[in-house]
Subunit: 338 residues, 4 copies
Amino acid sequence: MSAEKPQRIGLLGTGCIGRLHAEHLANRVNGAALAAVADINLTAARDVAARFRVNSATDDYRQLLQDPSLGAVVICSSSDTHTRFIGEAAAHGKHVFCEKPIGVNRESIMEALDAVNKAGVKLQIGFNRRFDPSFAKARELIVAGKIGQPRIMRITSRDPEAPTLEYVKTCGGIFLDMTIHDFDMARFLSGSEVEEIYAVGGALVIPEIGQLGEVDTCVVTMRMQNGVLATIDNSLQSVYGYDQRVEVFGSAGMVQVGNRTPDTHVCLDNNGVHTAKPQYFFLERYQDSYLAEMQAFVDCIREDRPPLVSGKDGLAPVLIGIAARKSLVERRPVTLSC
Amino acid sequence: MSAEKPQRIGLLGTGCIGRLHAEHLANRVNGAALAAVADINLTAARDVAARFRVNSATDDYRQLLQDPSLGAVVICSSSDTHTRFIGEAAAHGKHVFCEKPIGVNRESIMEALDAVNKAGVKLQIGFNRRFDPSFAKARELIVAGKIGQPRIMRITSRDPEAPTLEYVKTCGGIFLDMTIHDFDMARFLSGSEVEEIYAVGGALVIPEIGQLGEVDTCVVTMRMQNGVLATIDNSLQSVYGYDQRVEVFGSAGMVQVGNRTPDTHVCLDNNGVHTAKPQYFFLERYQDSYLAEMQAFVDCIREDRPPLVSGKDGLAPVLIGIAARKSLVERRPVTLSC
Amino acid sequence: MSAEKPQRIGLLGTGCIGRLHAEHLANRVNGAALAAVADINLTAARDVAARFRVNSATDDYRQLLQDPSLGAVVICSSSDTHTRFIGEAAAHGKHVFCEKPIGVNRESIMEALDAVNKAGVKLQIGFNRRFDPSFAKARELIVAGKIGQPRIMRITSRDPEAPTLEYVKTCGGIFLDMTIHDFDMARFLSGSEVEEIYAVGGALVIPEIGQLGEVDTCVVTMRMQNGVLATIDNSLQSVYGYDQRVEVFGSAGMVQVGNRTPDTHVCLDNNGVHTAKPQYFFLERYQDSYLAEMQAFVDCIREDRPPLVSGKDGLAPVLIGIAARKSLVERRPVTLSC
Amino acid sequence: MSAEKPQRIGLLGTGCIGRLHAEHLANRVNGAALAAVADINLTAARDVAARFRVNSATDDYRQLLQDPSLGAVVICSSSDTHTRFIGEAAAHGKHVFCEKPIGVNRESIMEALDAVNKAGVKLQIGFNRRFDPSFAKARELIVAGKIGQPRIMRITSRDPEAPTLEYVKTCGGIFLDMTIHDFDMARFLSGSEVEEIYAVGGALVIPEIGQLGEVDTCVVTMRMQNGVLATIDNSLQSVYGYDQRVEVFGSAGMVQVGNRTPDTHVCLDNNGVHTAKPQYFFLERYQDSYLAEMQAFVDCIREDRPPLVSGKDGLAPVLIGIAARKSLVERRPVTLSC
């Protein structure tokens, strides 16, 4: 253990993902201490504070941002508050970890990034999958040249169970809520930017979603600037569990990442060979990656290095998602002007 | 063994695939006898005939078609001769097995199908992959409802080594030569027709192919009439061997088909876990399916049943391939008017 | 979270496994609080106490046992102290979790079990593998009758790297140090006791081990009372990582448990298909099981249920190990008189 | 194809395995021609002859052996006739391929081997598994040093369905009928001879087998002369299909050979992940190896090379099987005096 004092960190938002980060910061991230909690629901803030032995709990995020003892904040509030909180936290000189999406339109994101630049603080976006051991290994092998020049990429993300219609109405659409992780993965693994995108989709799971002009199933094709042809397929409902796979095919080979199962048993009987379904959902599958991303955030502060997921990495997938929506609506490929 | 006399069958074309069918007809298909061989190269025809103990060899296909002792012919000649040979064989009352593609344009194919209908003979197209035990099993599970309503389909076909530029110039383009099998697979597994298609591609393996206006790598997205969203990816060069996979995702589950390896060894050492590459190419991977499709052809004659791959099944993928090419050139989705 | 007060637990021994349990008790086991630490090395005791915010640290285990606020102790000291500590802890009315082996000879173990019985406290032995999700699943499937009547069992345990000669001299021999886990697994999965045992072995890794009369590689065959024929193979050196597998074959099927890998990547290239080695060693492979066994211990105290690994479960594998040694030395099968 | 005349070969015995070899010799082995068939059942001999276009069929094996046009014979008659037929065939100057076991006692085998030596003909024993692509690959990797010095070997052979009691009574016992293949595999993969053997077993599948003094389930432990510790497990009944696996663990790694499945489908649903059972039995699993061993036999004649499975390779497993039986009966390890 380092002799250095731990980085005191404040948490904004105590929903599901906020509580997850709270536990990591309180007990498992080296060099960090969860020191303050804010939530518009004061009871929720106090609950989390009590559970992790934190003295400061508030329903006024500004109070938390003004606490001079805090070096950094972790933003887990609703998506529409992200850019505002980033801007204000930066103005108070706090380093910022912000959950995805960084924002929902280009202008407010640019403003937030300006504030971060001006303040000279660090900003890391919560694209946790980059820290998943398997995706990180795939990236490592690609960068090391093991598959040569990438040519084709296939990304699959399917959720185990569709959310409520209520959630669908407010989440910003499948591309900004779900596919955004896959857009990030495409950039992460190809090391390139999207040039052109084409999206098709349908309301195959929940017909009512179609009446909202939304889709619950989609296939996206992207041409990357370096020539890679990439596809993403998404579904809001996969009965066999969370399905998170990637495959990158290149001139010298291919790397694939598969799912994990809760156990490794194999059962053979008269009907066939049977094994466990993939892990249920993101809390199980990405457990390690959530811890690793937070450790990386704390480490980049302590060692004064650039964060591994930058503000630009936060912006790009939002723009891709907006283009995907345009393609879906206009039924034609859309060029990105990055 | 049946007491019935074997079906006497004539072979047109003794290239690689023609010789394969010859061996099966001569030694391994029950109820069939290879009885005559024709090839524009007389030496080649005689060679094959001698090897399989066949008395009749000619360089004039008309002579073979006029042999009244033959009940059926197997057409393995060059693609541009297929519709003509089908039409003439039908006119002579022969049942016809024809290699893919059935033809290269709609008009000549329609003429050939008319001739077949008029003559009341059977016509089976060589989409052998339908007879591969794994793809057939996938279809069986889908038809049995094991995955519920199909929603997303992914098809991968990658060849181990790019052909010569000469071949590329004459083969009719990637969509009619290679992807045509995948178009057939999409119809076979989804049980539906293509409604709209979008194709992107590049000359990532052999730049010279690009100068011919051709691609060696492509990704195709199709919306099927029953709502399934399907993607196909193709590459002319896969260093780890022939890659032939399919995945169909539905409301109640998913079925996948993977590659086979020449052996089942697993070697673990200090560097990792190592197994064999997939089988090298189509002759290895589809060995069983070539035998099974020919047995099915002979059986449908003897039992007077409709062939499992019809003339319509031959036509549809050609039209899809032509639409794919149009999409690639015009850079937009193309609707099929079936 | 329960409203009940957490169970206050004292730790005896702060070696590698002691520190692991300390972290779990301090941060991750529900309903428990690490409240005191003892180690003959006072600095080590203080270190662990400081790291986990524990006020009480001592080099006198008796002081810890006399602390009336403690409801239970976790014994992680050297094997030769286990039975003494169990006896004294029981006499002080503490529930006891004790690392394996419970002891090194039958007499002292019987005395400790008597003390436990007399005091009416709970005793759980640290056969953590029973709590591994995969082995637990195998047991669940067997008990549910999925493989019918078990007939053949195969257990493989191989360590990644041989320990020092010094360790080998003091660890009590391979059967009591390493195979003991496999003896427990055989009982756990077969639900039966060993009737006869036959052991062969050699010093194939480290010749010097042979000069000590010890072996580093062994194969053990056991006939269980219910007719199951079981084999165990062990090696002190597996270059591809920790190898922990089990297979139980029965009248209606078979269940197997395999290794886990640090990630799920698959890399295909010109040489073959490559994946990650199994996890390095027990701290990685059994991470979850160590937490689960401690949670189960705390739960059985709070809910007043019998521990899932009893004192008898601690004794039996020691007796099997002693018989295995006898078989190895006398080169003949040895009958157990349980 | 070679210009050389094909080797004319006579078949002795037209049971299941005899008909398999007949088809290979008639249609698929290069450089060979099936030229005569003998069986004590004349109808059976004529049947096979007719099916494969062979003119000579007899119920008198001596007539076949006297045919001067035959260069070699393939012996597929009942086990108790093997050594006699080998001896007489050799005396007539025929090369001999003989199914396993070469014989049932040491004396008659030695006599047959003497006759072969005296006549200078080639003798190959039907240990077909050596020609299975996966086992051959395992051997290749071991010989190439990929796993270093072998230390532990595990062999599993389990039949899908128990034979009739009648068969059990006459087959010579499990060790000479079934385990004999595994004894050969142990020698093949370890490159060493058995030094000591210990066998346990039970009548767990068919109690009546026990009353015959036989077992249907067994576990055999062998110490090889080079220090390898090997185990074999056998069962006459495996509900999930034919189970044929091997694993060789060494100082630098491990090689495993697994089963094959009829297809490669994977089906995921709400209950788990499901794949096909292993291939049903030896005709499916070892199809390729039967063809390869016969090709190797013909090639070794034509190229005048020693056969890949020698007379000594035929003798050794018989002696091991006799020792295994002795161990089972006397309940103690038995030393082999090779």
